[in-house]
Symmetry: C2
Subunit: 342 residues, 2 copies
Amino acid sequence: MAGPVTLSQVAREAGVSLATASRAINGSANRTVRDDLRERVLATAERLRYFPDANAQAMARGQTTSIGLIVHDIADPYFSSIAAGVSLAAERAGLAVTLASTQHTASREPRFVEVLTRQRARAIIIVGGRLDDPEANDRMRSSLVDFRRSGGSVALVGQPLLDVDSVVIANSQGAAALARALHGRGYRRFAVLGGPAKHLTARDRRTGFAGALEELGTPIDPALVVECDFTRDGGYEGMRALFAGSPDVDVVFAVNDVMAVGAIAAARALRISVPGDVGIAGFDDIVTLRDITPALSTVRIPLVDVGVTATELALAPPAADPRQVHVEGTVVLRESTPERVV
Amino acid sequence: MAGPVTLSQVAREAGVSLATASRAINGSANRTVRDDLRERVLATAERLRYFPDANAQAMARGQTTSIGLIVHDIADPYFSSIAAGVSLAAERAGLAVTLASTQHTASREPRFVEVLTRQRARAIIIVGGRLDDPEANDRMRSSLVDFRRSGGSVALVGQPLLDVDSVVIANSQGAAALARALHGRGYRRFAVLGGPAKHLTARDRRTGFAGALEELGTPIDPALVVECDFTRDGGYEGMRALFAGSPDVDVVFAVNDVMAVGAIAAARALRISVPGDVGIAGFDDIVTLRDITPALSTVRIPLVDVGVTATELALAPPAADPRQVHVEGTVVLRESTPERVV
DNA sequence: AGGCTAGTGGAAAAGGCTTCCCAGCCGGTG
DNA sequence: CACCGGCTGGGAAGCCTTTTCCACTAGCCT
């Protein structure tokens, strides 16, 4: 009685066979259904409010219509922007997105991969910097092998560590370009809020920045590269720690915007004027943070595009070897690092 | 050969029947499997890297393990915070979340409901203020009827318009409390960046605010309630429009934080000092915006909790009549609206 | 010792859909 | 006029699980 309407009901009601009803509704390739029958079926389906069961279709066709998205934290604007891109691209491709937010817990990642393996998702998009944790990466790699054996493809946004197609953000180059731009504005005494030691995205940005400074002949004092969380609070605490030593610094590079915001808050608490006493720069150019005061110098990453690209990559016909798409950032200098009058 | 491992393969390999293998693996109720057999099956499954096909399980059990989440824009921190809550609650319940982001296009909503109907999702969580658009709401209601006929339940975050369980945010009361607090701080000449006319959340906040002012004996001039988009740019343009008339105003209430940020940016462009010349307050207390300057007075809504609550509501055993859970906001006064010396 | 019950394994049905394959009918062709 | 091929409808197999139902064994009670 109750329960969803099935195709059999539609077929019976329309006076045709199951096969014909199916063909009428999803217009099978290389088979045609006589016009009057097709219309009758369509009208009946509409009248009965028939909606094909995607699970049954998935079984019959051996293919689902969903892709998985794994992020560290969907509430973080970095990830939610990329998620917006994934969602957009998925909709274009007629696919549904299954969202998994790991809350920064590495052990959840393979678990979610397994969930998506069971769902037989067409593809998984993994977003978020890898950690320098061989064991965790191995576990991930092995989950992904299982997933791909079950027919899915994978794309990664971040370091191309997992032997899968990757969208690689030019963290190192972006940070280097930022360093040169800051140097060009007259800054000479640099410090870095460097994020977690094992966080590869943070590391790439740190080393890119430091490398460029080295080349410019103003190498950074390693003591002025402080380790901290990759979050707003990390930036806050890092800044406090840094200035506890009253260092000789005219600009601080936080390895992401959210941390830079924390750093600015800390500066305020410490009565250090930004940019009067010290300039601050971030990375990512998070949209929501474009209006903070002082406006933040940063490296713009086209996050939504990154999401779209990753999705397209995952959905493209598989290649023999892992592909890599490189995405460049653009340095955006704003008030937080004005021209420095020496 | 290729393709995912099936239960039959496991059963054959372990030398038991399909039935036994199934029972061994998901420990069927009121049936036991002899220990040695169970272990053999489990070991084989592990060795073969068997992952049950969720689609097939859904068919056989007549129940899926996914819930749908429909938001206006996943990149907006308001929605992504709620999404974080939904994701959390879903994980606890062992369910996967299918994400749909409508990009503020009302016509996409029923389409996504249909997608979720086909997936036979257990529940749908719809987040986002309704519009005062009877036709769109009717279409939505009718999609939801189809969805529920196919066995799913629905919860809504927003105005309880769609005859479903709802988490109702006390927009009007929150705005009223904010108005009283601002009045208490000495403000008397109010303006409102009111959002879109038909946007019900915006409307509730506007009218709650205006109502309280009326009661306080300082009614707001309707000309000083400006209509604008519900976004950062809306706030920016609204503020410009408002001050184009050089109004006699000492505080501006933007109906959400993102708009308030836009308003502050506009004030800066117009060389209006905040809070020197005019105070600004928002609504939502978006985490990412807690560090802007000046720190924003606002009404804190526990967004993550809202997501959790909505999910729990949707997953609770169905009730005869639509339930409503009310969520109160808390006024948080910060630097953007200091005590006003008259 | 015979009959029960409890415990357990397995065959088979069911769940909704797609698609292969067969059959019927049409018109056209030699 | 018989045959052939193209078009189209329908029966049935197959996708992978769960679960019902049946069969069988072993142990217990009277």
